[in-house]
């Protein structure tokens, strides 16, 4: 038996069984259940691995092999906020490298390290599919577009001071554990927060609307 307290275990079991029911075969539930245990503990602990193994009738080695393959599963307690800076080529060149080095210096920590107060875990990220908003940062997997070293420092200072922080395109920031629960497939009711799109997403549509207006203007003149 895994070492979760009985009341924690029984609560997680209910959720895990709901996840398993979504799939034709139970093992498909492994990734979401790993997100679920991360929502409980803030990382995937040996207890969490045992819990997954027991529920899905796998060995702990099989579960650990999966948990260590994917970068989103943390093997040490994560900070309340995962602060990621995209340093893949495009963001890096546009300024992501400077943002990341500024944050390392400002926070006194490196990649995959957490501040002493447990609020911020700093990471460099690979491409997060927001290149038209470069340089991009992610906090708990919400978009913070068009960043600068100064805005990045302000952002982590706000997070550490407990000031409310709003992503550029997303919902009011949740904790790392709360977000992990959404990733496990439990909708948190926040879909209606935030905008539909940012300016870059709408750039083409805006030009199209302007083209249409100018065509209508011409038609009206003839």
């Amino acid at each position: 038996m895994s070492a979760f307290a009985p009341e924690v275990r029984s609560r997680l079991e209910v959720d895990a069984k709901e996840i398993i029911a979504r799939y034709p075969r139970s093992r498909s539930a492994l990734l979401p259940i790993l997100h679920l245990v991360q929502a409980e503990e803030g990382f995937v602990s040996p207890d969490g691995i045992e819990f997954c193994a027991e529920l899905l009738d796998l060995t702990t080695a099989e579960v650990a092999a999966v948990a260590t393959f994917y970068t989103m599963y943390k093997r040490r307690p994560n900070g309340e906020y995962s602060v990621g800076v995209c340093t893949n080529t495009l963001c890096a060149i546009m300024g992501g490298d400077q943002i990341f080095s500024t944050l390392k210096q400002h926070l006194g920590i490196g990649h995959d390290e957490t501040t002493e107060d447990g609020t911020v875990t700093l990471e460099h990220l690979e491409c997060n599919a927001a290149c038209d908003y470069a340089p991009v940062m992610m906090v708990n997997w919400e978009f913070f577009d068009n960043q600068t070293p100064e805005s990045a420092v302000q952002l982590v200072d706000d997070l550490r001071a407990g000031t409310t922080v709003t992503p550029t395109r997303g919902a009011t920031l949740c904790t790392f554990k709360q977000v992990s629960r959404v990733l496990a497939g439990f909708y948190d009711g926040r879909a209606d927060e935030g905008p539909a799109a940012g300016p870059a997403t709408l750039a083409g549509l805006q030009i199209f609307r302007e083209q249409q207006e100018s065509d209508e203007g011409k038609d009206g003149a003839t």
Binding site: R25, L30, L31, P32, N88, G185, A197, A203
Partner: protein, 445 residues
């Protein structure tokens, strides 16, 4: 001539609450599904074949043909899996699409599932985009409540379950067979083919895997007809040498106005830059990718190459995901290629030797070249290792890792040599940033 944009997928994105069912229904939402349910599944597949829609996720395989490969009448269930694991560097179209209008993807998924006679579909979305996942989760709820999903969809007798499944951070899971292993609860590692997923995919059952934009294009084809879709794009007598329909071009980097531009297949980068204000002021185009980092680099001499499958192939690259990453003359190509190479080495799943070992050694050599510690022989060594990886790896990740290296050596060999001669990088990294003059140096990693 100024090109005309053709917003279809993007037509509702500037509407208030565009992600809701209520708004989508005001813009012919689920009209494509209603049209599909009046036809037989095979007729729907034929319409998609006739539209000549090709995969928008990189490989460009004809979508209707993929559906037609599914063996019918066997005793195994059939599955549809939507590949929403958008992670190719530079690619940023599916994520904003799902954020702004998840229902169009869901509608496409129901139509595709009906066509291939699937009773269960999955959307495998990368985990690192929580708000996109929320919008999908809520849209699926709404679609069930409205009778677009579940049992007896719109009174047709057709049943479909749709599950949104979040990944956990692994580029390789965008590769379709690695995605299937991941969806089965395993490490995301590609499978040897044959058997192809159409025969033995998810749980060894017949499976179609399509990209988000491909599936998202299907409702418009059912609403407006195959001829409407095929009326856009490039022409040629040989079907393999033409590209049909509209598509999302994603412009990023050193440009005046980065963003999503939906236009017909076959426009050129010059036309797109003319329309959008060009390269950032006071600078000029140096190199660009047509479809993500895995597609060989192109230069200013390719500005007039049509952005079509056949056009870009003719320029020795690939249309890929139409992720147009633009770099101006302030960018060090060696630094850019080094960073992509580090990415491939990090994301290599380790299953096959050429990719696992090859990407490791490419990084070692690229690092010493960028730092000015390399020598002339290293340039040949890069090409030799690339030759060992290309076509000899399990999947396209390894092939992709060689693209930036071989293409940059073809077009910018002098710049590699300049690093050797100067004993270091001749570029000022701060000049390439969007906030010139601000703070510290380049090599953050």
């Amino acid at each position: 001539m100024t090109i005309t944009l053709t917003p279809v997928l993007s037509r509702t994105w500037d509407e208030d609450r565009s992600w809701t069912l209520e708004v989508y229904e005001r813009f012919e939402g689920y009209a494509g599904l209603r049209a599909a349910l009046t036809k037989t599944p095979d007729q729907v597949t034929q319409i998609v074949k006739d539209s000549e829609l090709r995969g928008r996720g990189g490989a460009g395989f004809p979508t209707g043909m993929k559906w037609g490969f599914i063996p019918q009448g066997g005793d195994k269930p059939v599955y549809l899996v939507v590949n929403a694991d958008e992670s190719e560097p530079g690619t940023c179209k599916d994520i904003p699409f799902m954020l702004a209008n998840p229902h169009e993807l869901i509608e496409g998924a129901v139509i595709a599932s009906y066509a291939i006679r699937a009773a269960q579909a999955f959307i495998y979305v990368r985990g690192e985009v929580v708000h996109v996942i929320r919008r999908l989760q809520r849209a699926v709820e709404e679609a069930y409540e409205a009778g677009y999903l579940g049992t007896d969809i719109l009174g047709s007798g057709y049943d479909l379950e749709l599950t949104v499944h979040a990944g956990a951070g692994a580029y390789i899971c965008g590769e379709e067979t690695a995605l299937l292993d991941s969806l089965e609860g395993r490490r995301g590692q590609p499978r040897l083919r044959p058997p192809f997923p159409a025969v033995a995919g998810l749980y060894a059952s017949p499976t179609v895997i399509n990209n988000v934009e491909s599936i998202g294009s299907v409702p418009s084809i059912l609403r407006n007809g195959a001829a409407w879709f095929a009326g856009m794009g490039t022409d040629n007598e040989n079907p393999k040498m033409r590209s049909k329909g509209m598509t999302l071009y994603s412009l990023s980097g050193h440009v005046t106005r980065p963003g999503q531009y939906e236009g017909p297949m076959g426009i050129t980068l010059r036309e797109l830059l003319d329309l959008t204000g060009g390269v950032r002021e006071g600078h000029e185009l140096k190199f660009w990718t047509p479809g993500g980092s895995s597609t060989p680099l192109l230069t200013a001499e390719h500005l007039d190459v049509p952005l079509s499958y056949e056009g870009i192939a003719g320029a020795k690259s690939m249309l890929g995901t139409k992720a147009l990453q633009i770099f101006d003359e302030t960018t060090c190509v060696v630094r850019a290629v080094l960073r992509w190479t580090e990415f491939y080495a990090h994301e290599s799943c380790g299953k096959c030797t050429p990719c696992r070992e090859g990407t490791f050694w490419l990084v070692q050599i690229m690092r010493r070249l960028e730092d000015g510690r390399g020598d002339e022989e290293d340039l040949q060594k890069l090409l030799d290792i690339s030759d060992t990886i290309l076509g000899r790896s399990f999947c396209a990740l390894g092939d992709g890792a060689t693209s930036p290296i071989t293409s940059s050596l073809e077009y910018f060999r002098d710049e590699y040599v300049a690093h050797l001669e100067q004993g270091g990088c001749p570029f000022d990294a701060s000049a390439a940033t969007l906030f010139q003059g601000s703070t510290t140096g380049a090599a953050a990693r």
